[in-house]
């Protein structure tokens, strides 16, 4: 009996997690699927055919999304690494304040920031450009990366670096052979989630990219609000594919602490 409850509970969890994906998957192949039919009366690949046709501009959106998310996560790591190191290794006055300031952007909605910045970006010619979009994506990704890396550095012993240096290693060698091997799980998790946060952004891209920078969420949104379920479903599946791939790659580096800061929007 107890066993039964346990397995029933587990089955409920599995069903609950998967439930929203079921209609998405069916709709992407459905045609003439009216109430009360539980399964479509006709099948069609219209949604997929449209998604992959040149008219949908999927290739362009996919490429821009990948480029923006890739560069955003690289930049977050490059900037977050020294910042995380300082936060993780050193105690200094005002550290709490800095921590607070770092935590704030993970909680305060980024569109408040983006609205304020928008007019300046227009002025500087950064609005409607990929660079502008990447910069504004850094607002939510950077603090996250910094915090995860600070966590990694908290358990990192700087003395190894000193030893390597005293044995004649150059700064680059020290980074490559000492620093990177000890923090790379953190780097991978931080990078992956920076990618996913940037990948999922809609409102920031719309506001700063102004529609000129076309990413996958923008494409998806314009179909989701138009009620074309076939195309919406097909685009949804394409949209989540990278997230799942990244999860599979990074799953073994995931820990509770990392997850607590990682959130696809």
């Amino acid at each position: 009996m107890k066993r039964l409850t346990k397995y029933a509970g587990v089955a409920l969890i599995v069903l609950g997690v998967l439930a929203p994906f079921i209609p998405i998957l069916i709709w992407s192949f459905a045609r003439r699927w009216y109430f009360p039919a539980v399964l479509p009366t006709e099948w069609s690949i219209r949604g997929w055919a449209y998604a992959f046709s040149s008219a949908s501009r999927l290739p362009q959106a996919l490429w821009q999304s990948l480029l923006i998310s890739g560069v955003t996560s690289l930049l977050s790591i490059l900037i977050g690494l020294p910042a995380g190191r300082a936060l993780g290794l050193h105690k200094f006055r005002g550290k709490t304040l800095v921590e607070f300031l770092m935590l704030a952007p993970t909680i305060v909605p980024a569109f408040a920031v983006a609205m304020g910045i928008h007019v300046v970006f227009i002025r500087l010619g950064l609005a409607d450009t990929m660079i502008g979009v990447i910069l504004v994506h850094l607002v939510p990704t950077l603090p996250y990366v910094t915090l995860v890396l600070a966590g990694m550095f908290a358990n990192y012993d700087v003395n190894y670096e000193a030893q390597a240096r005293s044995l004649g290693a150059t700064p680059l060698q020290t980074i490559w052979y000492v620093l990177l091997p000890s923090i790379y799980p953190g780097l991978i998790v931080a990078g992956m989630f920076a990618f996913i946060i940037s990948w999922s952004q809609y409102i920031l891209t719309l506001l700063i990219g102004g529609g000129r920078v076309l990413t996958l969420p923008l494409l998806l949104f314009s179909f989701a609000s138009s009620g074309d379920n076939n195309v919406t479903a097909a685009l949804s599946i394409i949209f989540i594919a990278p997230a799942i791939v990244l999860l599979i790659i990074s799953a073994r580096y995931l820990t509770g602490r990392n997850v607590s800061l990682a959130r696809g929007n």
């Binding site: 008219a55 480029l67 560069v71 930049l75 680059l172 314009s222």
Partner: protein, 410 residues
Amino acid sequence: MKKNIYLLAIVGLFTIVLSACGGATETSTEVDFSDWDAVVAAADGQTVNWFMWGGADNINAWVNGSIADTLKSEYNVTLNMVPINDTAEAVNKVLGEKEAGQDDNGSVDMVWINGENFRTMRQGDLLFGNWSATLPNYAFVDANDPSVLNDFGYPVDGYESPYGKAQFVMIYDTADVEAAPATITDLVEWIKANPGKFTYPAVPDFTGSAFIRHVCYDATGGYEQFLGEFDQALFDEKFGACWDLLNEIEPFLWREGEYPESDARMKELLANGEVHFDMDYNPGSAGNLIEDGVYPETVRTFVFETGTLANTHFVGIPYNSPNKAAAMVLANVLLSPEAQLEKADPAVWGDLPVLNPALLSEADAAAFDALPRHPATLSTAELAAARLPELQAPWVEAIEQGWIENVLEK
């Protein structure tokens, strides 16, 4: 040392992105926009960023396919269609750019527009002016057609170029509704007799707003009295009757008085039999949706005996567009008999053409006549007989605001 490496890497990444974005738009040099050959020459190599509603796959496919190909092969102009949810987004964008002082390198080169948005842009001096008659294909447009000279009562004056025509039709499922109501009064009776099976989209949805106007025309004793400038006293005096009628039917609507937030949601409701009526500004859309397998085969359209609203939609060029020449070339392509014919084909889009058949070559005119018509689409003659003019935008705004205050929030 380490810092330098970082700086280098960051700068390097930016350079990569910069080069990837590539092809920065050139600011247009002095072009004589009244000389068509000069316009075509200036357009060579430009990219036109066309902001348009992007929620219909057939329209997107036509624009990104046929139109983009023509622009590229005949004029070496690249089309970048920017899908938006609402034209107001583009208007807001140009406004924001003007406020920020971005006066000659704006991001919008062309916008699909009419009505309130056109008026807002004209009054804010946001549109490039007096260019539409320069287009060679404007010769096929009836220069005296009031619906092309005025946009919701606001004079066009060459600040936008006609693109297509629209007429409001009601849509119903013959499997659930025995006979189409001939008048608003009949419709109201049907609604009361069939609770939960009718609704209309909430404003600012374009279609919902038009439905409200139809009801108000009927409840206030005809539209003719509102054709002039906006008159607050007249509005206050007459429209109470309309709010009363709309509030009277509210409890009999879908979910005991709820309004879907978009026309797209309405379509789903009809497709699934949640409601039995829908409405659309494109008389051919019901036929297309049947073909796409969204609507059941039993869906048909009708117009009220007292007529339905008809209007024209246009394309406009913002004052700060750096690619005005390319935008003009695009507008001209959209006006060509070939494009208008393709667009009118129900298999492509089914949008009503803006060209006057009498001005076309015989072959072109015959091609328009020979277009197939879906059984759910009314004939051109039936539609033409029922055509009503739109009111000026301030009236429309007042009615929308009045509906929000007196019906939605009551």
